[in-house]
Subunit: 349 residues, 3 copies
Amino acid sequence: MTYVRNAWYVAGWEQELAPETPAAITILGERIVIWRTASGSVHALEDRCVHRLAPLSLGRCEGERLRCMYHGLLFDPDGKVVEIPGQETIPPRARVKGYPVEARHSWVWVWMGDPEAADISLIPPAVGYDDPAYILGHGQLDYEAEARLINDNLLDFSHLSYVHAISFGAGPQFAQSQPKITPLARGIRSERWITGTLGASNRKSDVPVDSWQTYDFLLPGVLLMWSGNYPAGTAERLGYAPPPQEDAQQGLNFTSQAVTPMTDRTSRYFFSWGPHRDHGDEAMRDGMMELAAVAFGEDKVMIEAQQKVIDMTPDPVVMPSAHDRGVTLFNRLVEKLARAEAGGQQQAA
Amino acid sequence: MTYVRNAWYVAGWEQELAPETPAAITILGERIVIWRTASGSVHALEDRCVHRLAPLSLGRCEGERLRCMYHGLLFDPDGKVVEIPGQETIPPRARVKGYPVEARHSWVWVWMGDPEAADISLIPPAVGYDDPAYILGHGQLDYEAEARLINDNLLDFSHLSYVHAISFGAGPQFAQSQPKITPLARGIRSERWITGTLGASNRKSDVPVDSWQTYDFLLPGVLLMWSGNYPAGTAERLGYAPPPQEDAQQGLNFTSQAVTPMTDRTSRYFFSWGPHRDHGDEAMRDGMMELAAVAFGEDKVMIEAQQKVIDMTPDPVVMPSAHDRGVTLFNRLVEKLARAEAGGQQQAA
Amino acid sequence: MTYVRNAWYVAGWEQELAPETPAAITILGERIVIWRTASGSVHALEDRCVHRLAPLSLGRCEGERLRCMYHGLLFDPDGKVVEIPGQETIPPRARVKGYPVEARHSWVWVWMGDPEAADISLIPPAVGYDDPAYILGHGQLDYEAEARLINDNLLDFSHLSYVHAISFGAGPQFAQSQPKITPLARGIRSERWITGTLGASNRKSDVPVDSWQTYDFLLPGVLLMWSGNYPAGTAERLGYAPPPQEDAQQGLNFTSQAVTPMTDRTSRYFFSWGPHRDHGDEAMRDGMMELAAVAFGEDKVMIEAQQKVIDMTPDPVVMPSAHDRGVTLFNRLVEKLARAEAGGQQQAA
């Protein structure tokens, strides 16, 4: 598993984190307990009591603190033990690791790297339920596959023409043409005009339109995409440059998706999707969520099967194709940053 | 897993291979996709796209070709890639391994060794649905056990007196007496008279008969057996030599069975069984299949339990008994040929 | 897994061992077949035929003997093969390991160490159904956790205040005060007065009482506990010394519990519990069993979760607390004796 640690990983949905109800999530092989206090703060600690390694996620919230419910050790939100029942002195090593954590754009984000380096400005600008412009639905899927394979899937939309041939009904254009791929500081941007199309499944146009689709795929594995239809001829008129979002005539929508590596063979995939308020309503949103359930299930079938094949292959080697430019750029960025982090750790040690 | 590679392994039932419906099977740890085209040809390829290792068994048949439904690579039936969507040039390494494959005697056979050495005459002469002489039923069982243990079981019928004491009701003779074992070029032959018997479970005779049973057990793990009842005294009259099949008075039947090693701990067991047309009818066949379901289930319980014990034993060692002559001869043949194959590979390398 | 081998392990409930019905149990990673003959004797052998390693627990009882039902080898209760079907001679190595076994106090005990050292006086004095003083119920739970974690749990009752805060309702005293821990030759003794209490869940007193609780925790992992209520002031009057059992005013009860390590990650937990005949009836016993089902389920949830955390931790280290004195003493005893056994084996070799 090569992943960047100095990044914000999605740990869950903000609205599903009930007050004083600790939740366990595994990220990059580390068990983490996340909880929201009655006062509204969100905290994240190593999910492992320093005493006998019981999970703190089975614990009890007491004010800002969390009590291990095996033998009663009480933890401050920074990981320091403040009470050991039956014992006067608390040794200095009685503490667990704390993680920087932020609730934003409907997601709870955990910083997996050096806490000193945690930078809130690096949280990807997802669209959450707090954004009045969109009518969103959301869901999540657990994968028996490593996160990289899901990232790879999202970095190359040519699979739409095959995996989702019927569900999204997006036609052969995704495989026949190349999007414009631009490197970003923390990811890549993909942009694409599809001209003279009737659009995808449940957002069909009656007349041919020019369909624009663009997404940023950002560290550690977050896809932020909007697409919309424009009058036929727009692409050519603009010289295939990006169109102003506000000129979209129809079908403007946004999806935020995040891939969280849990272990080296399990991942959690979070997604929200929905139309812009001026281009759709709750009914359209519900239709899009039904479509997402089918289509993202198709991805899951393919990727989990791919993982099984990889695991049965002694020395698995891929043969990148022309469509893999985004995949390759992003994975190189991950490797470069991960190497730098490992080097920094060695230097520090 | 020591198995002979230069042999035909049963991959499935010919009649269950629907046209243009790729099927996945694992043989000797290798994933293979098998499909029948609209024209009736059967093809077998490595089940792993050369691009990103997605399984071709999730693919789509297009004429004689198979398209990977992840990113659309199109494969010739020999494994060569003939189309990469979005890309003009196809590199020479864009190919996957092809397997010689034959549909015969109701089974689809895959040659796991050197394709150049694939020899159709080595397909064991099983009795399939195309044989007008027998009224067959068929079935299959998946084992959580390595194939060798199932082979061992089929190579020593003394287990009938214990494992199948009630189901086959074959009596103690199978354990008390030895069959005649003869080495064959690609297996062993077992022959046995049981005299003065009323026969097994559902093919009982009213009067004592002499029952003849003979099977060849052939590489890689195929049992071909016929048995039948003769008038009491026949065995002695023939000096315990093999009787002419056509003189069988009653109960003549044939069973073909094949054991396919999938992984080192999973196997698939295929079987057909039924009476000769002159000795029974569909009703008798159905009764025999009901019996097979019970009896082969008994083998599965015993062998899977045996596998578990073996896996919990640090250095498992067997203590062969007098009944193990067939087991020992066959396993030695496998080891000799497997060694020769490995030597040939080394020489070639 | 560090466990003492020269000890009696609980293999099952005596009353559940039906005559001539072999049962399989795994102890310390070794598969053992246990059976009771028609004459009432109980035998225990290695559960692995010397021929092809089939489990003898699928075998058939024949008098005092057990027949392997794969190929029919017949075993004396000491493990010697006395019949090999189809073969005249029986080689001297045709034998499996026998285990000393005793049925006592409702449990079947198996000695896992040197058979010569098997000492019946080392069977812990559990209270079984043959004891007329108590009205018992019983149960068992399988854990996906190593036995040591369950032992640790039973060696430190401070967890009652947290794990069982609601079920046993025992209050904070178990965590706030220390029991008196005394080393024994083969375990530890825990003794504790809780004064001025209304008692635990379903055996509440109307007026405050002094509650006494004492248990021995003995090798290999057996808890034998009685508790009872005394008039308020008794503890102080006795200088907090142990009270005479017969002076208990109310709530006198006994529980026997045994933890059997099956593999390094699975254990079986056996328990009986019930009131003294003078302090309760069948209805009270049933209420106590309902309570046990809830409370012991709470332990299982916590301990299995703890095991998962440990297994995800690269170098798991515990930080003992003041309550861990019993845990530490017992585990040191286990390590000392296990080392001595290993040394004795080396010397013997």
